[in-house]
């Protein structure tokens, strides 16, 4: 019986959006950024979200990561309706279930790579040595174990983003949300990052949703959805 339940849970999509609408007020005008959006992302998927600027991609990402709330609709991640959580509960949920990879890395310049990676572990009950061990394991996974003591200014852009990815996976989250992860990198470094994301998806089973403008980057994903004027589609708008 319990095996059946596990199987059923596995078959459920990890990310489930139902009728998500997001309205913004700009002066007296109300802008509908997301329009009754439905989305299901299976566990272990690698989804690329493409679309022109202002189409609502980032808003969607923020809602998926619990950084923003929908005006209407339901956001259910791994069976948890996160749109109903309080601000503090949502913070706790983010710490446990989501890893963010930012376009501009957002590393603390005065901390070493290892210290940057260990930041999310401050919210856990792990001991100092255990945190260090986990941070080093994450850095090893992204191939930067020999750069652990380096500060961000001593790393290349690609290496900085690898540190950003190590920080995102150090708590072993279910979902990785990547906002233009290669947007600030040259092609070679960008390819390395995309290979790393593919590795995390295929070898480590991470579910990844990646916002990108770059079709080359989107091609690394298992599937691509296009966003236009707050609506998701399988094909880019002509």
């Amino acid at each position: 019986m319990s095996a059946v339940i596990v199987e059923n849970t596995r078959n459920q999509p990890l990310v489930n959006l139902r009728g998500v609408t997001k309205l913004y007020k700009r002066g007296s005008e109300t802008v509908e950024v997301l329009k009754r959006l439905d989305l299901a992302v299976p566990r272990g998927d690698f989804l690329a979200l493409m679309g022109p600027s202002g189409s609502g991609k980032t808003t969607l990402m923020n809602i998926l990561g619990g950084l923003d709330r929908p005006t209407a609709g339901e956001v259910i991640i791994d069976g948890q309706p996160i749109h109903t959580l309080s601000d503090s509960a949502l913070s706790g949920w983010r710490a446990r279930h989501v890893g963010f990879v930012f376009q501009l890395y957002h590393l603390l310049p005065v901390l070493s790579a290892e210290q940057n990676v260990a930041l999310p572990l401050m919210l856990t009950n792990l001991s100092g040595p255990e945190r260090k061990k986990r941070a080093m394991a994450a850095l090893t996974l992204v191939g930067l174990e020999d750069r652990a003591k380096h500060k961000p200014s001593e790393l290349s852009g690609g290496q900085e983003q690898r540190v950003g990815i190590a920080r995102a996976i150090v708590t072993d989250p279910t979902l990785l949300l990547c906002d233009e992860p290669t947007g600030d990198l040259d092609r070679k470094a960008g390819d390395e990052i995309l290979e790393l994301l593919q590795l995390l998806n295929k070898e480590h089973g991470k579910t990844i949703i990646m916002v990108t403008h770059d079709p080359h980057a989107a091609a690394r994903a298992e599937r691509t959805l296009f966003m236009n004027k707050g609506v998701l589609g399988e094909e880019p708008e002509a």
Partner: protein, 386 residues
């Protein structure tokens, strides 16, 4: 990796700004210490001058001597429990730079009238037994390198009958006192030795002032009147008043200095608040995207607010403690130069605690503006602005 690592990383981000802010707080606290010492110099004088003691001077002026013969009459006044008289001179030890005040008194009555002073019984006995004996204040003995048993040649005194101006004393004790620095620098000697040795006849059998200890401070006015009435028809006449009233009159000469000290202190701390508040606001503004990143990682708003408040508090309190220590040292260094006017000029523990309390309050206040910025932070927007 803990919150302290993050706090220090924030300080390291703009080292020059952190150092200048730190120094401005240090200076503010040093000023606070000096002002507190001035206030203590003013107020402490009143506290030390207890109402149980009366001072009797020559009515013409405080510098004009009184005859020694008044002593017996004063001790006979009802309500007077002990009488001590003083005269003295400024002498020096070996070098004119080593000046100090030689107090000449009837030693056997001194500790009865001034109960804030004491010496071990054996030393007191030795002093009473030796008319050439002297006791020194602990600071004076330390400064001059004297030990009990030393013979101290004090130069620069009044001429003796043999023409010498060097007076020899046996150091028989080091007195202790709970009073501030100024009171720890006296050299106290026997009147009998001085009176028999001094050459100038005019200065024999006279004293500079009498101090009476009385049984009840409520009788101070009546006893003062009795004393002055007793010498009304004598030459010279006397002027007697309680030390407490004397100190208050002395204080009044300066106007309301205490209030001024408090106002200047408030102004100093207010300036410090503006400096720290501005520094913290700038620091948080520069790190807006970092705070957004922290929020994205799962750190709550209260956690980040706590971090900023700790950052502000740690800076103010550390700099405050350094400022208090330096202020204490500065007050000690300044004490000898202002000691003649403000004998109780010193930094007190109560002022130090008040300084620490003010540091905590101002540290919290300085964190208020940046705290608001964090509570209003829109994570999604801030991440985009980086």
């Amino acid at each position: 990796m803990n919150a302290l690592t993050l706090i220090f990383s924030a300080y390291r981000r703009r080292k020059a700004r952190t150092i200048f802010t730190f120094l401005s707080v240090v200076v503010a606290f040093m000023l606070f210490c000096i002002l507190a010492a001035v206030r203590q110099g003013m107020m402490g004088q009143v506290k030390i001058s207890i109402a149980e003691r009366l001072d009797t001077y020559n009515k013409i002026s405080q510098g004009t001597p009184l005859p020694l013969s008044y002593y017996d009459k004063l001790t006979a006044v009802p309500g007077v429990t002990a009488v001590v008289y003083f005269t003295g001179y400024q002498g020096y030890f070996k070098d004119e730079k080593n000046k100090f005040q030689v107090a000449v008194t009837n030693a056997e009555q001194l500790f009865k009238v001034y109960q804030e002073f004491s010496a071990p019984p054996a030393q007191t006995q030795a002093w009473m037994a030796d008319r050439q004996g002297a006791v020194a204040g602990p600071l004076l003995a330390k400064r001059m390198g004297w030990k009990i048993g030393d013979t101290i040649p004090v130069q620069g005194g009044p001429a003796q009958k043999d023409g010498s101006k060097t007076w020899y004393y046996h150091l028989v004790g080091i007195y202790q006192t709970t009073l501030p620095t100024f009171y720890q620098n006296f050299f106290v000697t026997h009147y009998q030795y001085y009176n028999q040795g001094i050459a100038d006849v005019k200065n024999q059998n006279v004293v500079g002032q009498y101090t009476e200890r009385i049984d009840d401070p409520r009788h101070a006015m009546a006893i003062s009147n009795t004393i002055d009435k007793m010498f009304e028809n004598a030459t010279p006449q006397t002027l007697t008043q309680s030390q407490a009233i004397e100190s208050v009159s002395f204080m009044r000469q300066f106007g309301d200095v205490t209030a001024m000290v408090i106002y200047v202190g408030i102004a100093v701390f207010f300036s410090m608040l503006l400096i720290i508040g501005n520094t913290m606001a700038q620091s948080v503004r520069e790190r807006t995207s970092e705070f957004a990143m922290f929020r994205a990682l799962g750190f709550t708003r209260p956690w980040l607010v706590g971090l900023v408040l700790q950052e502000s508090l740690l800076l103010i309190c550390t700099a405050g403690v350094v400022g208090l220590i330096l202020g204490y040292v500065a007050a000690r260094l300044l004490a000898p130069s202002v000691g003649n006017v403000l004998q109780t000029f010193s930094m007190t523990w109560s002022a130090a605690w008040l300084g620490i309390l003010l540091g905590i309050i101002f540290g919290l206040l300085a964190g208020l503006v940046p705290m608001q910025r964090i509570t209003r932070l829109r994570v999604a927007d801030a991440l985009r602005r980086a």
